[in-house]
């Protein structure tokens, strides 16, 4: 590692203690992951379901594609919105690594904006123009949207891998494509893609089970639940395998770092592995999701917990990777406690307002002349 290539810490200092920004970065990243999984995984699953149905909306898989993209047209907005916060906090904590990584692959990082715009509008075109209520159509828009989101995932994995590897920067500067040569690149990408498909499949299954048990389109929802449950099973099997491959491919110093980190690093890692395997067992035991709604809800809870724990482990991996660089200089802390407190108060007020708004909306159904 050439320390001269690592830009200096920002002289303005951190406007709060480092631990606070670590917590905020991980927590907001976790929130972003929930929506990102729905966007990426949901769109990929929608493509699979759409083409397996031969593009027909009458087929339960075609209906599933429509459902997933109906959620996604809003979910993409929330993915972007929740992505802003971790993007903000990573720039506070790791700006010198993050900006450098983005500049080294500037073209593709910038292209992400175009990919996102095209992917988003393609999703809307599928919703409004492409997919008829009956019959066939819409596959092209759906496919385009999925390709864009997959490309964005590739860009993000590249940037986040690169920002934690200052020792590779000089090589990458002479040829950005060598980012893909990192042995962990594709396993990491696969980890995100499989998690996305699995999570989106689980959410779709959970909703279908609820609907079926409420007596709404029972046959359709039962078939959708069965289809998505199978996809969840297979993606989770692959995910567990990929997770172990990724662990084995990690550089030895990082593995030793995890061991030497004691409970702080070993508990999340162990928990993540146990949750992954546990999820597999839970999913495999269910043959008819509609008949096992409790297990379905429990699986969803366990999946959310797994994502939370994996977010912590991922962050710890970054901390360990960057340790040789970060130990060279300590950031100055210039806390802004009043401003932080104001943010917390406004955050709580904002969430309360969202809650109030949603409650008012749910309590005020109306039709005909009484409706807005």
């Amino acid at each position: 590692m050439n320390p001269n290539l690592i830009p200096a810490l920002d002289p303005a200092g951190l406007p709060g203690p480092p631990w606070l920004f670590h917590v905020l970065l991980v927590f907001t990243f976790f929130l972003h992951m929930l929506f990102m999984n729905l966007t990426l995984g949901g769109t990929l699953l929608a493509v699979i379901a759409h083409f397996r149905a031969g593009g027909r909306r009458e087929d339960p898989r075609g209906a599933l594609a429509g459902r997933l993209m109906a959620v996604n047209s809003y979910g993409i907005s929330l993915t972007i919105t929740t992505g802003i916060a971790p993007l903000l906090f990573i720039q506070v904590l790791y700006q010198q690594y993050f900006y450098t990584a983005t500049i080294l692959i500037a073209g593709v990082w910038l292209a992400m904006l175009l990919l996102l715009t095209l992917g988003y509008y393609a999703a809307y075109l599928y919703k409004f123009r492409g997919a008829p209520a009956r019959g066939q159509g819409g596959g092209l828009w759906l496919f385009a949207s999925a390709v864009m989101f997959l490309a964005i995932a590739m860009v993000h994995v590249a940037v986040h891998l690169l920002h934690s590897q200052p020792e590779r920067w000089a090589d990458v500067a002479s040829g950005a494509a060598c980012v893909l040569g990192d042995p962990t690149y594709f396993p990491r990408l696969l980890h995100f893609v499989l998690a996305g498909i699995g999570f989106a499949a689980l959410v779709a299954a959970w909703w279908a089970v609820r609907q079926a048990r409420a007596g709404v389109e029972v046959e359709l929802n039962t078939r959708i639940a069965g289809f998505t449950w199978k996809w969840m099973l297979w993606t989770t099997i692959l995910q567990v395998v990929d997770g172990f491959v990724l662990l084995l491919l990690l550089p030895r110093p990082l593995l030793i770092g995890f061991m030497q980190g004691g409970a702080a690093t070993m508990i999340p890692l162990t928990l993540a592995i146990l949750l992954g395997v546990g999820l597999l067992v839970m999913i495999a035991r269910v043959t008819n999701p509609v008949a096992s709604s409790g297990v379905v809800s429990g699986t969803l809870g366990a999946m959310v917990l797994t994502i939370a724990v994996m977010s912590i482990t991922r962050h710890q991996l970054r901390v360990l990777s960057l340790a040789p660089a970060t130990k060279l200089s300590e950031p100055v802390v210039v806390p802004q406690w009043f401003n932080f407190s104001l943010w917390v108060v406004l955050l709580l007020a904002g969430l309360a307002t969202v809650g109030y708004m949603v409650r008012r909306v749910l309590d005020a159904p109306a039709t005909g002349a009484d409706a807005a």
Partner: protein, 510 residues
């Protein structure tokens, strides 16, 4: 300065403008649209007016498709581009205003959720609940402007922050309130301009009424914008005025931008009065597009002006446009710019013959491209320029060449003086090397002047906004670095024009 340098062909500032200007247009529409749509629906409910309701409903689809999609992506895009072209500046802003941005994010979350709920619940919930969602959207959207306005205006007029470093001193800076007033007016104009399109789709008996309704809001927005603009100008210090106001503005392009912006606003107001208020039947897609373009022209011009008059700073009196902080000038002069700019230094160490180019990349490339936007090659003196001035063939072309190529630096001499100082055209053609030597000396001399500006910055009182107007080039950062780096840069710049001069000279200098 320690970041890698991205050689973006069109120039970093132009790239930023390409992302930022569409974003601010859309984001201001999103705010103003929130107000007008909520207001329109409120009036529709009170009056039992289905046409007004239809206008609000159709406009809400535009709001979703344009603001929550394009607005959100391009907003992230500003961070993305800033991180690529000005990482030091965005880092400084984020480290100072992270909690401001975090607060804005809270309002943004509320805004997005409200927008999605509002659009989705047409015909599904009670009128009162729907209106509540619409107004919540507007309040959240406007509060996000209230926050981001503090950070944006801080960059031009940091105010007491320069002395205290206090978050709120920088936030409520001298141009905060004028800018908020201006942007509030712009929000109304943008919203009315966009909503004209859904209004045109109303049935014939109601179309004119809806367009007049929007016309009043557009006119109100234009007048508030104008008042805000004049207030904003009045709040700027004299040293900033010197760049774009007065009989001899330092940056003529910014003076032209000011005129463009104000004439665009005038045109927009007149057009709105005619096609929306007086003769709504004249409102057609083409005239509506012209109205929107005129409104964009004002706002885009203002944004260009606001960015331009900050020169040579990214954060006034704190950080220059190339990421150099005023506080580190003396240190960089001592250590050398290549030692401070690790990536450029790394490249220069690997290829010492490339040292001059690396100094250029570290210090100049944030504003100057080689041949594109703010082309450095075009800014440098060439044999062809000298030949054109000396030959004056056809008559009058010499004076034009002088104005275009010489006057910016040689403002103390006129065309005749310059022609008198130069050798004759035939002499230049027979011995262009003499002019090249002269030009090399001019380049080096200019760099020495730019380095001397650094001493003025070091000596300046940095607790208030620095008056740049007495400096040699008040819109440029100082040259920093060692004597050897200065010479390397001068040689590199000289090589940029000398390589292409034979081709230019073939054209007889014109």
């Amino acid at each position: 300065m320690g970041y890698p340098i991205w050689d973006v062909t069109i120039g970093g500032s132009l790239l930023m403008a390409l992302v930022a200007i569409p974003h601010v247009i859309v984001s201001h529409f999103a705010i103003g649209g929130g107000l007008l749509i909520a207001l329109t629906e409120t009036l529709a409910v009170k009056r039992g007016d289905p046409e007004l309701r239809g206008l609000a409903k159709r406009s809400s689809l535009v709001l979703i498709l344009v603001s929550t999609v394009f607005g959100a992506i391009s907003g992230v895009g500003i961070w993305v581009v800033a991180g690529l072209v000005s990482p030091g500046a965005i880092s400084a802003l984020i480290h100072t205003y992270v909690w401001g941005w975090a607060i804005e994010w809270v309002f943004f979350v509320l805004e997005i959720v409200a927008a999605l709920v509002y659009y989705t619940t047409w015909d599904k919930i009670s009128k009162g609940a729907h209106l509540l969602v619409g107004w919540l959207y507007f309040v959240a959207a406007y509060l996000s402007l209230v926050v981001i306005n503090g950070i944006v205006t801080f960059m031009l007029t940091p105010g007491r922050w320069l002395a205290t470093g206090d978050f709120w001193h920088g936030f409520f800076n001298p141009t905060y309130w004028p800018s908020l007033a201006l942007r509030t007016g712009v929000c109304l104009m943008m919203a009315a301009a966009f909503m004209v399109f859904p209004a045109m789709r109303a049935g014939a008996p109601h179309r004119d009424r809806l367009l007049r309704f929007l016309g009043w809001w557009f006119a109100a927005g234009a007048l508030v914008s104008y008042a805000g603009y004049r207030w904003w100008e009045a709040a700027l210090p004299d040293s900033v005025h010197a760049l774009f106001r007065g009989a001899t503005p330092k940056l003529a392009t910014l003076a032209a931008t000011r005129h463009f912006a104000l004439w665009s606003l005038t045109a927009a107001l007149v057009l709105a009065v005619v096609i929306l208020l007086l003769r709504p039947r004249l409102t057609r897609p083409a005239t509506a597009v012209v109205l929107a373009i005129a409104a964009f022209g004002f706002f885009g011009g203002y944004e260009r002006l606001r960015e331009g008059v900050r020169k040579p700073f990214l954060i006034h009196s704190h950080m220059f446009s190339n990421g150099l902080r005023v506080a580190e000038i003396a240190d960089v002069n001592q250590r050398g710019v290549l030692a401070a700019a690790g990536w450029a230094g790394h490249a220069a160490a690997a290829d010492p013959a490339d040292t001059g180019r690396q100094v250029f990349r570290a210090q100049c490339a944030s504003c100057h491209t080689l041949d594109g936007y703010q082309s450095i090659r075009k800014a440098l003196p060439s044999v062809a320029d000298a030949l054109a001035v000396a030959a004056d063939d056809p008559a009058g072309s010499g004076a034009r060449a002088y104005r275009e190529h010489c006057a910016a630096c040689h403002h103390d001499v006129n065309y005749d003086d310059m022609k008198g100082m130069l050798p004759g055209a035939d002499e230049i053609r027979s011995d262009p090397g003499m002019i090249r030597d002269l030009h090399q000396g001019m380049i080096t001399g200019t760099l020495v002047e730019l380095r001397a500006m650094g001493e003025a910055y070091v000596a300046a009182d940095r607790t208030t906004m620095i008056d740049t107007s007495p400096l040699h080039s008040p819109y440029m950062p100082p040259f920093v670095g060692t004597e050897q780096e200065l010479q390397e840069l001068a040689a590199y710049l000289g090589s940029l024009v000398f390589d292409v001069e034979p081709r230019l000279a073939m054209r007889g200098g014109e």
